[in-house]
Symmetry: C2
Subunit: 343 residues, 2 copies
């Protein structure tokens, strides 16, 4: 049995999803020869630390009851403190995305990689700002840097392209990478309504934020386009390199006219091998795999051998995103030749 | 550099696709630290053998010009002869599918596994008849048995579920696993035509066989359902265990009526965790990821963490199927800890 000492840095919706999924999958992981001992969990107020493994059930309960996971003895202890002071192997970095400075996430990831800890993350911010630096840091320190959950939530896209589609030359990837925009466009057509009415509905349902600009202006989609460009195509792009138009000017009339010619309008993010990155509302034929409705995410991958491969999944959600994080963790320790041979 | 000695058993459309893709990907494979030396290629008339690696370009040319890959010195040499007599590491078994007896493919695969050769295949026959026996044989001989190409051609489905979705409990898989049926149903609606007219069109275009019963009666879909049940769910099923209805009784009127309520009709194969296997025409909401048109294949995977994940791709084609075979080959040698450490 390989015992992996891990920290969960950030204990919002995704961090809690990770904790729940680790509890759910304890037996499965054991069958795979892996035991994950979470030695620290942090949130914005502090930390809980136990070098033998914290009680994740108790963490979830304490968070629900008191608003923080922190025990009294570790109030004020930050993620960075945990990464630098507590010996462990794997940092699960799930703090909130900050695309301007990278936020605490960027400092956490750098500190983790520098101290030779694997990093698995759902945090897009640091990857849209300093992807190459982080990747290089991981290589130099001979640790893994995995980020399946940053694009498309549960939808497997990065590992699909790098592992499963291995051998294929990838010409482009395009898709719907923001469930809020897909929901708004789908509902506008269904309800014969304008953008503003449906936005109000989406905010009421918690699908859109009160300030929806990050989603509807295509900024979130652009972040994912940048991550795909850098990770799958080996580019070195930032969000400034993306030509970007959001969905705020799409009208019901445009959707209705498209439908009459068998098409629908979707906010499509695209990375082309020639280096062009774009986000814009585009016509998609109904019946094409990209024409999925509701809050779904989808990606169409153009390849030389396999042709077009499309994958669809839930772009958000606590357990859904945790699913991608778990898949990354497994990929580190299942393919770990050294531990396989030694243990 | 790891040099892999391989044979290509069967040199029809898929075997030739494998040869072409190995030529296209020579440099890529080298970058991955792998050199594939094809020491023998066989077809129904004979073989070509060279322990230092045959010239694949010359093989493709000879096949096109003379109808066989066999050189004069190896006329009459069979796949089984090659597997038993020529030392090599990997058998790429791409002979035609025989779902009644398993055909030469079954004998080839058994002989290959017994002589401790890895097997990568696109041949559904042996897997629908004796999956467990083949899997056990591979385990006992400590070699890999890989068959991504048997379901959905280029569409990644088996490795997606076993590797990328690892950690998820899979509740069911359902999908369109036969491009011919999808084409016929799509065109019936588009052309406001009956089943027979569109079948004639499909035969003319080479999309359907002159005897289309294997496709339209759902037998091919049932084979894929059996392979998914056995490989992903660890069942021990054969085609007799599948409740099966084909598409021959689907009418234009039914398609038209479905469309009025926002739905379409697709031939859906399904494996449920409770052991129920089925193939039948079923209603699918337009806009759902399963509602793809034309000759595409699609699979929707129901999981506990990720929710529903859908993948779409070309279900047939020479290079497309070769893409899945190449992905299997890479998965054997990229994750091969022994060769990684030794070489």
């Amino acid at each position: 049995m390989k015992v992996v000492k891990a920290s969960i840095i950030g204990f919002g919706s995704i961090g809690q999803g990770v904790a729940k999924s680790l509890l759910m999958k304890k037996d499965y992981l054991k069958m795979e020869g892996i035991e994950i001992a979470v030695v620290a969990v942090t949130d914005s107020k502090g930390a809980v630390v136990d070098e033998n493994g914290v009680d994740l059930d108790a963490c979830l309960k304490r968070k629900a009851e008191t608003g923080t996971v922190a025990g009294k003895s570790h109030l004020g202890m930050t993620g960075l403190d945990v990464i630098q002071k507590i010996p462990h192997d794997l940092v699960i970095e799930v703090t909130p995305t900050d695309i301007v400075t990278g936020g605490a996430g960027l400092l956490n990831m750098k500190a983790a990689l520098q101290s030779k800890k694997h990093v698995v993350t759902s945090n897009k911010g640091p990857l849209t700002i300093q992807f190459k630096e982080l990747q290089d840091l991981a290589k130099r320190n001979n640790v893994e840097f995995k980020y399946e959950a940053t694009v498309g939530g549960a939808m497997p896209i990065i590992n699909l392209m790098t592992d499963i589609m291995a051998g294929n030359d990838i010409k482009s990837v395009k898709g719907i990478f923001n469930g809020t925009c897909n929901y708004i466009l789908t509902r506008m057509y269904e309800e014969k309504s304008g953008y503003s009415e449906i936005l109000t509905e989406a905010v009421d349902l918690g699908i859109a934020e009160t300030d929806p600009s990050y989603d509807v202006e295509g900024i979130d989609t652009a972040c994912k386009v940048v991550i795909l460009a850098n990770s799958v195509f080996g580019m070195n792009k930032t969000i400034q390199d993306v030509e970007r138009t959001g969905i705020t000017h799409v009208t019901y009339e445009a959707l209705e006219m498209s439908a009459r010619s068998g098409k629908t309008i979707k906010l499509i993010g695209e990375v082309r091998k020639d280096g062009r990155l774009s986000v814009a509302p585009r016509l998609v034929p109904i019946g094409h795999p990209l024409s999925v409705s509701g809050t779904l995410n989808v990606a169409a991958i153009q390849t030389d051998l396999a042709g077009e491969i499309t994958v669809t999944g839930k772009g958000a959600g606590s357990l859904e995103t945790a699913s991608s994080i778990l898949s990354d963790i497994l990929s580190i320790y299942r393919n770990d030749c050294v531990s396989k041979n030694v243990n």
